[in-house]
């Protein structure tokens, strides 16, 4: 194992310089710049993942979409009024615009009598169009341009720096850290309120929680995350950071707090990986971050441990295989029952997939070759007993309770015989009697 270059870093005696040096060793010349850009992207991605978790579980993903478009005119006006990008004035303007957007959408839904999605579509496209026009009209007075609005300028983040305690730190990084820390703190403090409101707003209102205020707080948090992400990934791809990691995390866990942490982590990973990919492929960092987020989601759809398509397919396959094996064992059991009674061998059909099932049953010691063909072993008989017992008990129970003619009892029993537990079998037996016969007059085997 190679020696970590700590020895070379230590004599410099300056942590900031050391990190820069390490980044340059890892990433090549200019590595420090790339490290700053990646750290900024990861921070805003984590903030968006946190907020997005609540948006996704509240079915408000498209409100996040609308807000991320609609804050643009607020930002532009604040910048024209002398605010710095990422400064407090711009943040406040963005929050105000976001709340105004939500309010306008509600008003339009009420007065215009339109569905909510139509109102949202009207409001956010109009506000975004206004913002783009303002940017174009005052292009000489602000250093935003339509391209920056749409896909961000993550690559330029490291060049706009301010001095903090003697170090040059990118302004975007400072904004991102402040917003990320603030949102994490707010989430920890108000978590219970947010969760209660998200899952049962009526009960929350009845319990005296200011539901509208909690929702407005979430909208304000969305606006803050959006405006911090604006120069990193641009207006439209903020939606990717808000929704995709949260939806990915939702596929991976069923607990809300785990989902929030996971979403923040996934967002951060995607930001770093997307940046590196964009750098290698010489393309837009924001675009590649969205692509990586999409790949993460696709991977979760396929391979999530409980809900993934692969595991669900395997589970279905395993069930089908178990049903096939049990049906086959029951067929042998019935063949032997008939043979015992009338001393006439009944051939058990062996066709198609049945051959594989037979091979598997023989390999696992549940059937074996005997004098008159294949016979159940003791172990196979035990399992077959259970299946046939479930089948016949269910037929008896249906015959008593469902008023079905006796030739309609077989199909439902054929289906449920694979799913009845010992407890249900015992209760049915207690009802129909221990030595009862099934509706076709055949004996019900005892519990093995």
């Amino acid at each position: 194992m190679g020696r970590f270059p700590l020895a070379q870093l230590a004599p410099m005696g300056d942590a900031g310089e050391g990190v820069q040096h390490l980044a340059e060793r890892l990433l090549g010349p200019g590595g420090g710049m790339h490290a700053w850009a990646m750290a900024t992207a990861a921070l805003v991605a984590a903030a968006c993942g946190l907020v997005g978790t609540l948006l996704v579980v509240r079915r408000m993903s498209l409100v996040g979409d609308a807000i991320s478009h609609a804050v643009l005119p607020g930002i532009v006006v604040a910048v024209l009024a002398g605010g710095r990008p990422g400064g407090p004035l711009v943040l406040a303007a963005a929050v105000a615009t976001a709340l105004a957007t939500v309010w306008l959408t509600e008003r339009l839904t009420a007065t215009g009598r339109m569905a909510e999605d139509a109102s949202a579509g009207v409001v956010f496209t109009t506000m975004f169009a206004g913002g783009v026009l303002l940017v174009t009209a005052f292009a000489s007075r602000i250093d935003l341009d339509p391209g920056c609005i749409l896909h961000g300028v993550l690559e330029l983040v490291p060049f706009d720096t301010v001095a903090v305690a003697g170090h040059e730190v990118p302004r975007g990084f400072l904004t991102a850290s402040a917003v990320c820390a603030g949102l994490a703190l707010a989430a920890v403090v108000t978590w219970k309120l947010q969760v209660f409101t998200a899952f049962d707003p009526e009960a929350a209102a009845a319990a005296g929680i200011p539901v509208r205020g909690v929702t407005a707080g979430l909208m304000a948090a969305t606006a803050l995350a959006t405006v911090a992400s604006f120069e990193v990934v641009g207006a439209i791809l903020v939606v990717a950071l808000l929704v995709v990691p949260a939806a990915t995390a939702e596929l991976l866990t069923h607990r809300l707090h785990r989902m929030a942490v996971l979403a923040a982590g996934l967002g951060g990973c995607a930001a770093v990986l997307g940046y590196l990919a964009a750098w290698r492929l010489a393309t837009s960092a924001a675009g590649m971050i969205a692509v990586v987020l999409g790949l993460q989601y696709a991977a979760a759809v396929c391979f999530a441990p409980e809900d993934g398509l692969v595991i669900r397919g395997l589970r279905r396959l395993a069930l089908a295989w178990r049903v096939a094996c049990e049906d086959r064992l029951a067929a042998y059991w019935r063949a032997e029952e008939t043979r015992d009674r009338c001393t006439r061998p009944v051939p058990v059909a062996t066709t198609g997939a049945g051959r594989f099932v037979d091979a598997w049953l023989a390999a696992t010691g549940r059937i074996a070759r005997g004098p008159g063909g294949r016979l159940l072993t003791a172990r196979g008989r035990e399992q077959a007993d259970t299946v046939v017992r479930s089948h016949r008990l269910w037929e008896s129970w249906l015959g008593r309770h469902a008023e079905l003619p006796s030739d309609h009892l077989h199909p439902p029993a054929e289906w449920i015989e694979h799913h009845l537990g010992a407890d249900v079998r015992r209760r049915i037996e207690a009802e129909v009697g221990a030595r009862a016969r099934d509706p076709h007059g055949r004996p019900i085997p005892p519990e093995p």
Binding site: D65, G147, S284, V291
Partner: protein, 308 residues
């Protein structure tokens, strides 16, 4: 360039020569106006069916299709690019249907995922092509916010043809679309193929969004489908009247956008079209005789006077 264009269009093109407007601009305006009309008509049906934002995901996905079509053919002809866009839009809608059926992800989150990830692919493709200095690739950025100045007469004819076809389909299927929009349960019980009608409607919306791309751009084109119907809805309770009004409002917005962007080439067309439509919507919300805020306030005042 003018070959294959109907004579009527040529007459329209040459008539306002005395206005000193380039004839090309007039033809392009006519093509985009046709898109505005058709988007208003189709959009009305979509908004009534509560599928207003179906076009948004399709429009964002179209950017990747446009870039891929350019990459595959190396040509920047509008029919090729829009064909690629349409394929990508339909693919995105297909993925959306699959996500809804086979995952736990909620509908709105699935829409946002398809929209943002496909748009990210598009941005990455366009930026990658531009940074490699591929000739002509820079023009692809015009599909983001709309830019009609570069359209040719043949392009305008294509837009107008597709729009006309879409309007014909919508008018032929008007009864079915209205039924499904207002009472899907009754429609299904009467044996109408509700799902198929919905797929047709969303397909039409996707087609409108694609032909709207040159005028309004991927980001804002959904407004062409949403705003005129909402404005028209304020004036009437009749579906055919709403379709007609929405078409007219779409036409006015499109013509204004093209004209303003022709006068000030620096401005992208998309925001202008959207703001023109939004202005008409604001007028409708204030002044529509039955529902408008001003007439309602006036009636309330006179009622109060009458009571006193």
């Amino acid at each position: 360039m003018m070959s294959g264009i109907p004579d009527v269009v040529c007459c329209v093109a040459t008539a306002p020569a005395w206005l000193a407007v380039p004839p090309n601009t007039v033809v392009v305006a006519a093509g985009v106006a046709a898109v505005g009309v058709a988007a208003g008509v189709i959009g009305s049906l979509a908004v009534l069916r509560k599928r207003a934002l179906a076009g948004d995901a399709a429009a964002h996905a179209a950017l990747a299709g446009v870039a891929l079509a350019f990459l595959a053919t190396g040509r920047r002809d509008l029919p090729v690019l829009l064909g690629g866009g349409l394929l990508a839009a339909l693919a995105a809608l297909g993925v959306l249907v699959l996500l809804r059926r086979y995952t736990r992800t909620r509908d709105d989150a699935a829409t946002a995922i398809v929209l943002s990830v496909s748009f990210g692919c598009g941005i990455a493709l366009v930026a990658g092509l531009t940074s490699r200095g591929v000739p002509d690739a820079a023009g692809l950025e015009h599909f983001l916010l709309g830019h009609t100045a570069a359209l040719t007469v043949a392009d305008a004819a294509l837009l107008a043809t597709v729009s006309a076809a879409a309007v014909v389909v919508a008018v032929v299927g008007l009864k079915e679309a209205t039924l499904v929009a207002f009472d899907p349960g009754f429609a299904a019980a009467s044996g109408w193929p509700v799902a198929a009608i919905d797929y047709c409607l969303v397909g039409l919306v996707a087609a409108m969004v694609i032909v709207g791309l040159p005028a309004a751009g991927a980001v804002l084109v959904t407004a062409l489908v949403v705003i005129p119907p909402v404005a028209a809805r304020q004036w009437t309770d009749r579906v055919p009247t709403m379709l007609l009004l929405a078409g007219l409002i779409g036409l006015a917005a499109a013509v204004f956008g093209v004209a303003a962007s022709a006068l000030v080439p620096r401005l992208a067309t998309g925001p202008l079209v959207v703001l023109a439509a939004a202005t008409l919507l604001a007028v409708s919300l204030l002044a529509a005789p039955e529902r408008g805020l001003l007439p309602r306030a006036w009636r309330r005042r006179s009622a109060r006077r009458g009571a006193a």
